[in-house]
């Protein structure tokens, strides 16, 4: 399971995640155009907290995958993430309509009849040891949680420490 946990109430809209994601894109693709900040694969919608963090949750039964008429969105072979093959994307907006987090973002592409816009979304920083957005988030609003299971077991343990200590006083 991918390594992202999102806790919107903790977000202060500092924007570090956007910069880190965009910088990561720019480095990985070597695209250093003036609009590099636009390459960020997540958005944080304000204008004030609570924020709406538009970041892919890599759902297990992802509605975007169900709705993708071009099969550009799929669960990848390892079943770890929802991956996007943007060369297949036809810009039909079906995933935009389905994603409850509004995580798919529009990207303008030039040329190619009928494909003025394609979709971009988080790839889970597959090539990196840790997702960049989580690495720079100062409040834990986006966390690299290992996987969802270990996040759950850590919370259980934290709580149990409290219970156990009370019980053994």
């Amino acid at each position: 399971m991918p390594a992202l946990g999102v806790n919107e109430p903790a977000c202060t809209l500092c924007g570090r995640c956007l910069v880190a994601c965009a910088a990561g894109r720019a480095v990985l693709t070597g695209a250093l155009d003036p609009a590099w900040l636009e390459q960020s694969l997540l958005r944080v919608d304000g204008p004030a907290p609570p924020a709406h963090i538009r970041l892919c949750r890599h759902c297990l039964t992802a509605p975007c995958v169900d709705a993708c008429v071009a099969r550009a969105l799929r669960r990848d072979a390892a079943g770890d993430a929802v991956s996007l093959d943007s060369s297949r994307c036809v810009g039909c907006y079906s995933c935009v309509m389905e994603c409850p987090f509004s995580a798919p973002l529009a990207r303008a592409v030039s040329g190619n009849a009928g494909r003025g816009t394609v979709i971009a979304k988080c790839d889970g920083c597959a090539q990196l040891p840790e997702p960049l957005c989580a690495a720079v988030c100062p409040t834990g609003a986006i966390r690299a949680a290992g996987d969802a299971r270990s996040a759950s077991s850590r919370a259980r343990r934290r709580r149990a420490v409290g219970l156990g200590l009370a019980g053994h006083r």
């Binding site: 169900d66 008429v69 907006y93 309509m97 994603c99 009928g114």
Partner: protein, 402 residues
Amino acid sequence: MTRYLIVGLNVAGIAAMKAIRELDRAGRIVAVSGESHLPYSRVLLPRYLAGGAVREEMSLEPADFYRAEGTRVIWGRRVVALDHERREAALDDGTTIDFDRALIAAGGSPIIPGHLAGPGVTGLRTLEDAVLIRERASAGTRVCIGGAGPVGVKTACALAELGVRPALIVASGRILSQIADPEAASLAQRRLELHGVEVRLGTDISRALRGRAGLEALQLSDGTAVPCGLLVLCKGVTPNVAGMPSAVHGRSGIAVDGMMATRMSGLYAAGDAAETRDLIDGQTKVTAIFPNAAAQGRIAGKNMAGATAVFDGSLPRNALDLLGLPLISIGLVAAGLDARHAVRATRTAGSYRKLVYRDGLLVGALLVGEVMDAGVLQARIRRNLAGSPGLREPGQLMGEAG
């Protein structure tokens, strides 16, 4: 070992196949596909017609998906009779297949009224249809489209991209009348006209005028005639239910319960052939949209393989790209608005957004131009319709300020 039969192999059938494989590895699956091609995405046919998608990109699954162990696909055959008593399906080549549980996912066929049927009149449902339309249009044949639902409009866009100037003949007073209100429809219409589509509103096709060279013109109900060498009818699809036991028939398709099970044990239905409850009006009907077929197929597959999964009902929704102008329609947006409903509409240059509330709860969204938060709105609509209104309000949504 359970013997599964899947009648019709497209979005719903494939989703069911995946679900069954996941839960019952020992089962034997036989699928009957009406076409000989690898199953492809029908929604992409307008793009294919316009040359914007190639054949391989349209495949729903790679070829080896259908060759997995325990799976057999019979290509280019139809099930002509399903004998529930003997648990046996008869194919059009005379062979039979035995089964324990069967899924009817045969989809639908374009509606072509008898008085128009004949040479020069087609739907857009298969690759062959798309090839025919592209060839005729490229050769200079004047193409008319009958019906301006999502498929008709997308076909018009595709032909406009090809550089031909199609005529869109619309019986209703506006295009996209089921999914858009007059304001959104006029924005969409302007976009079509800008790209050379001729839109004729409020007039129906009463007769196809054929000469020696085939179709020559269409006689319209307003008394005029339009020259036409090829008529593409996009007036919806009718469920393919022929050969299925009459006990499972509903109003037009196959009647199913929440588990996608028909009245006959072991018989399930999903996709464009199945009638489900509409979440907005509570009516039972076919809601022939792509994501519905995938969800229903998966749920049917799970139940067939012994798990329990329940389909909530269908939320009518559509997303369209009108030559660069996105339009998304979710839930209740135009028809059936009464005193219980309140509407909030916002307009900016190039965008129109309308949110519909029932008793204070969001039940519909119609977005043109600025659509990127549609998913959040859809999730809220679903929660509201499920009777558990969103407790956590998401951050302020676009167009909802104040």
